[in-house]
Symmetry: C2
């Protein structure tokens, strides 16, 4: 065989292994979806055996030494440069994942898995008992193990700090130094908007948001909303569906991407915005390039970019004056009990700025502050500047400083999220990075489509969705997020556009 | 290590491999269930990749040469006899399955898989076009391949004929010679009952069965029926659920066994009896001995025994006077439009004897004749007494002889079922064997519980279900069906009890 043939053969073999792995992951996704939505409760033990088996298989397939050998053969081949940009990216992503999966000693991986089961279990009990003392020793053990892993990954990845190695797993090539700069700016900007909004004499009346809307009416609203955004759940070629779970999520791959929501009778807005949020995630997955299916590049670019899509649809689109000028009459028709609510009143209420203690209940403006607080703590914790014992004090101080909230106990404080209990460190920043990207995307969209808001007012989201597909979705994971945002927006990641968007919107709403 | 330790270690290792395989099969079951019930239509291509991957994995795991080596080591070990009856049965069943999976040449297995895809596809088109000529060449190819496989399996299993080797895969150790004897008796008995019933002056009025019952009311009926039979779909410990599919089925394993039904607005009885039928299958799976989960013995005894459970619940219980004396008032309350229908009228209508052309629409009495016709044809076909060209003529003659039906075209004749198109030969007899077993079970139940019908009239199915569990379900696959029926009923498999049951029931209904 000629040299290039060997190279191509090895590349093909590597890609086949990645495809097989992607298929197994997609099975795992359905089994998880079923567990959350349809499984009879008694099935839980069998399900844990099934998921355990899939996890074992995924681990075995993704750490298959042959993948490592193929990567080396491909990268060391004299004709390596003959591979296309796409092929090289696939090799790069395969290597990145293979290194993350194989460079940690097996004992450490097992220890982390065991300890996170213990820590998350303890977290649940400690949260219920409002006792950080109970949570602390197990959290500390897990943190130390994750830090050990992060130190090894730092060497493998060549990042500046161990924490950066964890960030890199969600937001490729992003660093805590860059995030610190971005988040400091963002925080200053947000604090000003919050202060102006909350001190404005014009305040929203949110009382109508708790008017009763029966679940079946909310389901009809959900079905009509997904039509507007183009998430197909009922045509003969539908690739989606909506089900109910306590915590909404999106799950799936390409032609089978499912979202969930919850319906609260006395909070109809909750399902509306979770549908739009998850719909944004879903359309990212569904509009990836079909020919990249089962390839490493055939996924979203990063956790942050995924969040930029859900936030764009939920907030920039879904909480805009223009969308509600189109959709409020329909909503009134469906609910039958909002006829006295003007568009102005409605849009102000769904955009009420209210500092709060709980991240997942936060509004568009205050949300990022919750994330920034967690990032600051993780960064300093991994850098050894604070220890696990300091967490409650640091947490509570920052909630007072940035949000003006007095935390009464650690259950409404640092124990509110499950992330640390499962060992998800380095994940939080992506939530706020998503908002930052969404601001830059909006600025770029405005240039390409100056009448974007008139389009929305007409209920035409299709053109905007097409723009997102052309500019974001179809690139899949071809670029690192820093490169993708630059390619789309023309500038480096920066907070200017997101803050501009918020300033413009909230100064109008609150008349400041 | 001592000799017995080696034996026990090998047994443990074999059982671990079987457990892993059972877990993968249970994943496959959920993925199939999801495909039939919930999957967005666009997901079909991805799903075929997922099922293909699981099939590959199952094949690899079940033909793992180490299983063969372990079986040999265990069976040839000097202390083999120290294994318990249960352990020996596990070894026997593992060997049986391993032989079925490994003794066929791989090329033949691949060829059969390919040809069945082609043949079933052709069957669909040929059925639509009412053209046996179109179906014939592909059916012939598939038959010849299956016959080749059956000849090899005959040698492996030591059966008398190739066809017996196929029967053995569904009904262990059953033979076509025994079935011929049973089915000849059964046919003679049935033909008499049909003749007496259809010529009786007293005929049922079935017109009320097409009164409209909305789908949501039928769902309420279904939910109430499963409560009566003890199939739990809504308690916090439920292990079941009901969904809708065109063709009802039962799917699952132990603590997660799901049934489906269809709701026709103008045929409410259809969902009632499919719920009872599938509920009978489901309770078999759910009441297997928990400690046998993931073991070869932890499954139903045979396809026929499975059918005995579904038929028992659907027909012996579900179409009895006693059940409807209890349930008809509830059904009237739920539907609101059956108040003028007496119990006698109702029970006669749901037991109307009506020879027909289509197996799946047949009543309790004529159903077995459809099966017997297929068995006779398969047996003679494999014996070389008839060829594929003879099929339409033989089929149509038998439908005329036994059911008095004139087949107009082959789509309502031999092309009505999918079985031959997929290569399911040797499967049909189990449907009628299930009825035969159910008659013997009824006779045994009557001895143990003389007031069984008063129990039903009180709506107490629990005691009968407990009897079925104690006598059938908990034995799992510990015995071959011939041994199990003898153990329960005290006599060999025979048609007497089933025919007695039918005679008694239909002579009363039709007053002959």
């Amino acid at each position: 065989m000629a040299g290039t043939d060997v190279l191509r053969q090895n590349y093909g073999r590597m890609m086949q292994k990645i495809k097989d792995l992607a298929v197994v992951y997609s099975i795992d996704a359905i089994m998880n979806w079923d567990m959350e939505t349809k499984m009879p409760p008694k099935g839980i033990n069998l399900r844990s055996q099934q998921l355990g088996m899939l996890g074992q298989l995924e681990h075995k397939m993704s750490t298959d030494p042959e993948i490592g050998q193929l990567i080396d053969k491909i990268r060391n081949h004299p004709d390596y440069e003959s591979l296309s940009e796409i092929e090289k990216r696939n090799v790069y992503l395969t290597k990145k994942n293979y290194d993350e999966m194989t460079k940690l000693p097996e004992e450490l991986v097992v220890e982390i898995a065991k300890q996170s089961t213990i820590t998350v279990g303890t977290w649940k009990r400690a949260k219920a008992a409002k006792s950080f003392a109970m949570f602390k020793p197990e959290l500390e053990k897990l943190f130390e193990l994750k830090k050990k892993a992060a130190e090894i990954l730092m060497d493998v990845k060549g990042t500046a700090t161990p924490y950066d190695a964890l960030i890199d797993m969600h937001e490729s090539a992003m660093t805590s130094e860059k995030i610190t700069k971005l988040f400091d700016e963002l925080r200053d900007g947000l604090v000003k908007i919050i202060s102006k909004s909350t001190s404005s004499p014009k305040q929203p009346d949110e009382s109508f948001l708790s008017r009763k809307v029966p679940v079946d009416v909310q389901q009809k609203i959900a079905n009509s909303l997904v039509k507007v955004i183009g998430y197909d759940i009922d045509s003969p070629a539908a690739g989606g569906r909506i089900d109910e779970t306590e915590h909404p999520f999106t799950n799936g791959y390409y032609d089978d991407v499912r979202i969930t929501t919850h319906y609260y009778e006395d909070n109809f807005a909750s399902s509306i915005f979770s549908i739009l949020h998850e719909g944004g995630h879903a359309m990212y997955e569904q509009n990836l390039r079909p020919e990249w299916m089962f390839q490493p590049i055939g996924t979203g670019c990063s956790t942050g970019f995924h969040e930029s899509q859900s936030r764009f649809v939920e907030n920039i689109f879904g909480r805009s004056q223009e969308f509600w000028s189109y959709y409020l009459p329909q909503l009134k028709g469906l609910t039958g009990n909002l006829s006295d609510v003007s568009q102005e009143k409605f849009v102000h209420a769904i955009n009420a700025v209210k500092p709060s203690k709980i991240r997942v209940e936060a509004d568009e403006v205050t949300y990022c502050l919750h994330v920034i607080i967690r990032f600051n703590i993780e960064r300093d914790w991994f850098a050894g500047k604070i220890s696990v014992s300091d967490l409650p004090q640091v947490w509570n101080e920052q909630y007072m400083n940035y949000l003006g909230m007095k935390i009464q106990d650690d259950s409404e404080g640092l124990m509110q999220d499950t992330h640390w209990g499962i060992g998800y460190f380095g994940y939080f920043p992506s939530y706020a990075l998503g908002n930052i990207y969404s601001g830059q995307l909006l600025a770029a969209l405005k240039k390409d489509m100056p009448d974007w808001n008139q389009q929305i007012a007409k209920g035409n989201f299709q053109a905007i969705r097409q723009w997102l597909t052309t500019n974001v979705h179809t690139y899949g994971n071809l670029y690192d997020p820093a490169d993708l945002i630059k390619k789309i927006a023309g500038d480096e990641i920066n907070t200017k556009h997101f803050l501009n968007y918020l300033n413009e919107k909230y100064s109008t709403l609150y008349e400041y």
